[in-house]
């Protein structure tokens, strides 16, 4: 049995049931949703409008003049976090580490990281560096302008793993790490361990599990 709705001048739209229909009710949402949304079932016949992407973008932040940027209020359902750096550099006199740190309601955690990074430049010079105080992007940032993405993924529970690559004008940097927080992640910090940033921006995006 089908429900046929005739067009006012021609044609029709028909809603049909399967041959063996059983007893099933699908309840439409009220309203029309917004452009690009799709209908999602709750498994019990309830339908709702949902956005195709669960990605939230936090506005880009200038780094100049500060030693760190901390993104707070990240929801407990976040599972993937992207830190996007554009020409991010610390001042060229100090030589500090560039760190990414995670935090929970108790604050940013400064220990317990497993992290290693490395770089190779166009002259084939290379170096590697480890750290337990943060995901380490650079162990000697003296004006290196880093551009790239660091992805931080929830492995399970409060365990987060990261990997990323950045580039400066003549070098490629790569890094990876692991950190188990004492609680649910709520914040992410990007900092230089000495001096301040003098250029660039940092953006944060996160995806939540629906």
């Amino acid at each position: 049995m089908a429900l046929r709705l005739n067009g006012s001048t021609s044609g029709y739209v028909e809603i049909d049931a399967p041959a063996a229909a059983g007893s099933n009710t699908l309840t439409l949402p009220d309203g029309n949703g917004t452009s690009g949304q799709y209908l999602q079932t709750n498994g019990s016949g309830g339908l709702s409008w949902q956005s195709a992407s669960n990605l939230t973008r936090v506005s880009s932040q200038s780094l100049s003049g500060v030693g760190s940027v901390t993104f707070t209020g990240i929801p407990s359902t976040a599972r993937v976090i992207y830190l996007v750096l554009d020409q991010a550099s610390a001042d060229n006199t100090t030589g500090g580490y560039l760190h990414i740190r995670l935090g929970d309601s108790g604050g940013i955690e400064t220990t317990g990281y497993l992290s290693n990074g490395a770089f190779i430049n166009t002259a084939s010079a290379c170096d590697s560096f480890g750290s337990t105080t943060g995901f380490n992007l650079d162990n000697n940032d003296r004006g290196n302008k880093h551009s790239g993405v660091i992805t931080i993924v929830n492995q399970s529970g409060n365990v987060w793993c990261s990997s990323g690559t950045t580039t400066v004008n003549n070098s490629g940097f790569m890094n990876a790490g692991r950190k188990e927080l004492s609680g649910t992640l709520t914040q992410v910090q990007f900092l230089t361990t000495a001096g301040t940033f003098d250029d660039g921006t940092a953006s944060l995006l996160y995806e939540v599990e629906s």
Binding site: T56, S59, V66, G67, N139
Partner: protein
């Protein structure tokens, strides 16, 4: 100074370092930074040796340059990139 960005409200505030953060940065400057700066000199010297001094060394082996020229280049590179405690 720490910039704090609330991802839900978009509010941005500047917050002074805490006492713990200041202590950590002071410890880094005291205990770690000297080694970082020394390593930076080693990187610069290594790149300059490869680009400038090593060719002179091989030329001196072939009799196309003098050992003194190679040694002078090495000394010039060391002077160009002094270790922090030598500067």
């Amino acid at each position: 100074m720490n910039k704090v960005v609330n991802t839900q409200t978009g509010e941005v505030t500047l917050v002074k370092w805490t006492a713990e953060e200041i202590a950590e940065r002071e410890a880094f400057a005291r205990d770690v930074l000297p080694g970082v700066l020394r390593k930076n000199v080693e990187r610069n010297r290594a790149a300059a040796y490869a680009a400038e001094a090593d060719p002179l060394f091989f030329k001196s082996q072939r009799g196309e340059a003098t050992t003194a020229e190679w040694e002078a280049k090495v000394a010039e590179i060391k002077a160009r990139y002094p270790y922090p405690d030598e500067a």
